[in-house]
């Protein structure tokens, strides 16, 4: 192939570009990493400020406990991150995880044999995937807005759960789930280890795989992605299925943590999971951000709840502070979105 490079640099300049080094620095600081710096910086600020007021807050035990709680939110927000990156959202998280949790305890309530437990765990996770996949089918093929599709699916799952249990779920968590949610190995909680694994896998998938790259492409510009041969529908369906899987996994963990499944166990996770993603710097419009930010978002939200309870603040104050933090983070991150237009 002939090169066309001979025309020379001098004639190429349509516009002045900044020097390569400067541009790279700017790209790195403003683009990908600024939200991360802000979010992790905020964690540090919370730790220092609260630690000075309440030394017990920064004790190893407390932080370890907080990390366990953050891992639940973080895993719930893993699916939410994937979907928000595609420009979607999952409101069915609450009851998808609740249904999975209840499915497991119902199936094992009279039989805790290893085979039965394995089967129940498999079914619970599978059920999460199935409902996630249904979301994906409606969104990818019928172009139902994700908000409406997952809202409707949430109602269906809520009804199914209550139909199935008549409102009083039975059974307790199998040992393995109990240990996963509350146990430790070498002082490290299993839940945190699981979160680390999930994080590593998800960050790897988003950054290094074909699927991850296509996710960003779709979230940024679905038409350009389609015209570049990206199988848009397939990627969307896989994404929603994966989000369903994480919902199911969260359901199992929450069941283990309280050693039972109960009604409305997922309600407290929907809006915080979205907030964790946004606080972590992922754009609600899709296409920019990533799970590293969500990890920070989940930790921030969990720590804030802890801080406010240490400070003896009411739930009311927690919510107000929550809203303000999300708004402030939005205004910090939103600035860049404006330039993009």
């Amino acid at each position: 192939m002939a090169s066309i490079g001979e025309s020379g640099e001098a004639r190429l300049g349509d516009e002045q570009l900044p020097a390569p080094g400067v541009a790279r620095l700017r790209a790195l600081t403003s683009e990908r990493y600024r939200p991360l710096v802000v979010a992790y910086g905020l964690i540090l600020v919370i730790l220092i400020v609260t630690g000075l007021r309440h030394p017990g807050f920064v004790s190893f035990d407390n932080l370890r406990n907080q990390l366990v709680l953050a891992s639940f939110l973080g895993i719930a927000a893993a699916g939410q991150t994937i979907l928000i990156l595609t420009g979607g959202i999952d409101l069915s998280l609450a009851w998808n995880l609740n249904f999975s949790a209840i499915l497991m305890t119902q199936l094992t309530k009279s039989d805790m044999s290893a085979g039965r437990v394995t089967w129940a765990i498999f079914l619970a996770l599978f059920s999460g995937c199935v409902f996630g996949c249904l979301n994906g089918l409606g969104i990818a093929y019928l172009r139902i807005p994700p908000l409406v599709m997952t809202l409707g699916m949430n109602a269906v799952l809520l009804g199914l759960t209550l139909y199935y249990t008549k409102g009083t779920p039975q059974g307790t968590a199998p040992d393995v789930i109990l240990r996963l949610a509350t146990g430790r190995v070498a002082g490290i909680p299993w839940a945190v280890l699981l979160w680390i694994v999930v994080s590593a896998v998800l960050i790897f998938v988003l950054r290094r795989t074909v699927f991850g790259r296509r996710l960003y492409a779709i979230g940024n510009n679905v038409r350009a992605a389609y015209l570049s041969g990206v199988p848009v529908r397939r990627v969307l369906i896989v994404s929603y299925t994966a989000a369903g899987f994480f919902a199911g996994l969260t359901g199992l963990l929450l069941t283990g943590y309280s050693n039972q499944s109960y009604i409305r166990m997922g309600d407290a996770y929907v809006l915080p999971s979205i907030a964790a993603v946004v606080v972590g710097g992922t754009s609600i419009l899709g296409g920019s951000g990533g799970y590293a930010g969500t990890i920070a978002g989940a930790i921030i939200i969990t720590l804030l709840q802890n801080v406010l309870s240490i400070e003896n603040r009411s739930q009311a104050d927690q919510q107000i502070l929550f809203g303000l933090i999300v708004l402030i983070m939005l205004l910090i991150y939103g600035r860049e979105a404006k330039i993009r237009e």
Partner: protein, 506 residues
């Protein structure tokens, strides 16, 4: 004194000069045409006159007073009302509501819809337009009727200056006649009308004077009745551009690589047949919006329900999806690089590798070294000027963005390149590089099907050209026939009689 005068208007978009000290004046009671090839600057001038875009330099006076509009509403309030091709109608409101947008008749502070409908009916009636139900929702109207409503909406504001920018392109002959009759009446009443159309015959039928634009400047203002059409065409073409194109190979006949028969996607494509050979650059000419873009999209599998047969290297291609077209060896550089060709927030590397990701990965995991090497190869080969391969594409200049939009297809080893105006809005230096790249691709035995709004490109670059008009190929030109006169005549849909007349004069 002219009612509207623009003096020394200059407008740049990035490094590209759209208007370079252009001037123009329009009297009350005249219909004044703006003529010029694609990219001559007339549409930009209209946008500046109507407050859609600010000028970089120059003055506008309206009825002797200098004006400077901050937005379309300000221009409209001052008496300059445009009708654009891209509609300003609200699809979900009724005809009457659209006609009276912002000046709704009110009773007791509320909109009086009945009065509005009555006034709308009266307005449409007074314009002698075909009957349109004022209570119909605009979304439900056929395009032609929407365009009539758009025109009526502008006239209803009783502007001092009415600007019609390709505002009759969707109308049938009868409707055009009625609009023209109305415009003539308005002229009698002292309105100044600026008229832009790609149909030369409409200009001759309607306009008193015409200002001809070329390369961002006004080159002449003529009385339409006293000027021969070929004179106007000559003014539009102007001097010869310096030769910037790579030399064409001598005429030769290679094996066909793409064969299209009777491709239809009504109403945009009305039975297109063509053959593209290896090593060939085949131009699609004609004015914009005659189906060239639709042809490329249909071939790339974007249009459901497109019929006809397409063969690539003798194998039938099912027009089912871009992915299928890519698998058959096609590549598309689409019309709008910002919304279709590129993903602006993603990096140069991510854009270039997107179509070829499966080949740059093992088991779904991208091989970073391979990706980086491929990207750097492309950056080097196309001299893409970027700080690094990780720079988001939106930080690149227009020309370099376009290079990325092309580079992403070189990695797929595509054999057939479908390109829609790949050099639009790009500086001359980069254009030449792209020309050379296209020729080198052809020399390697690939084929290019290419639409350009720039006649010089079609003539200078293409081995052969097909002129499209209203969804069909109306002429095929090759070798010595490939001249500006022939292209323009065919593009404007001039009848054979006119063409004969022109040729005899020439």
């Amino acid at each position: 004194m002219p009612v509207l005068a623009a003096n020394g208007i200059t407008k740049r978009f990035g490094g590209v000069v759209a208007l370079n000290g252009a001037s123009f004046a329009c009297e009350a009671g005249e219909i004044h045409a703006l003529l010029g090839g694609n990219g001559a600057g007339k549409s930009t001038l209209v946008k500046i006159l109507t407050g859609v875009q600010p000028a970089d330099a120059g003055t506008i006076t309206l009825k002797g007073q200098p004006v400077d509009f901050s937005d379309p509403a300000a221009a409209s309030a001052a008496g300059i009302v445009p009708v654009f091709q891209e509609l300003s109608l609200i699809p979900d409101l009724t005809v009457a509501e659209n006609l009276f947008m912002g000046r709704e008749p009110r009773r007791f502070g509320l909109m009086d819809r009945r009065a509005m409908r009555r006034a709308a009916a009266e307005l449409l009636e007074s314009l002698r337009f075909p009957p349109i139900d004022p209570a119909a929702t605009v979304r439900d109207l056929p395009l032609a009727e929407r365009q009539l409503v758009e025109i009526a909406k502008a006239i209803g504001r009783r502007p001092d200056v009415l600007i019609l920018d390709e505002a009759t392109s969707a109308l049938g002959a009868q409707e055009v006649e009625r609009v023209f009759a109305t415009l003539r009446t308005l002229r009698e009443q002292g309105m100044a009308i600026v008229f832009i159309s790609h149909r030369m015959e409409e200009v001759r039928a309607l306009c008193d004077r015409a200002t001809i634009f070329r390369d961002g400047q006004d080159v002449a203002t003529v009385n339409v009745a006293d000027t021969d059409p070929e004179e106007i065409v000559r003014l539009m073409i102007g001097r010869q551009l310096e030769e910037v194109f790579p030399p064409k190979p001598p005429a030769h006949e290679d094996a066909p690589i793409l064969r299209v028969e009777n491709l239809r996607w009504e109403p945009a494509l009305r039975g297109i047949s063509l053959t593209l050979h290896r090593g060939e650059i085949l131009g699609l000419a004609g004015l914009e919006g005659q189906g060239q873009g639709d042809l490329l999209l249909a071939l790339f599998g974007v249009y459901a329900g497109a019929t006809g047969s397409v063969q690539v290297d003798g194998r039938p291609l099912h027009l089912g999806s871009p992915a299928a077209a890519m698998a058959a060896g096609l590549a598309l550089v689409p019309e709008d690089r910002k919304t279709q060709g590129l993903i602006l927030p993603l990096s140069v590397r991510e854009n270039i590798s997107l179509p070829v990701l499966p080949k740059l990965s093992h088991g779904g995991v991208i091989a970073p070294e391979l990706e980086r090497r491929t990207t750097h190869e492309m950056i080097g080969r196309l001299s893409i000027k970027t700080a690094s391969s990780d720079t988001p594409v939106r930080f690149l200049s227009g020309g370099n963005q376009q290079k990325v939009a092309i580079a992403k297809w070189l990695t797929t080893q595509a054999q057939i390149y479908l390109m829609y105006d790949p050099t639009r809005g790009i500086d001359v230096g980069t254009k030449q590089e792209i020309y050379r790249l296209m020729r080198s691709l052809a020399d390697e035995g690939r084929a290019i099907l290419f639409f350009s709004t720039d006649l010089a490109e079609i003539i200078g670059l293409c081995d052969r050209a097909l002129v499209m008009y209203e969804g069909a190929v109306v002429r095929e030109l090759a070798g010595d026939e490939l001249t500006k006169e022939a292209l323009i005549a065919a593009s404007l849909g001039m009848s054979d009689a006119v063409r004969a007349q022109m040729e005899s004069v020439a």
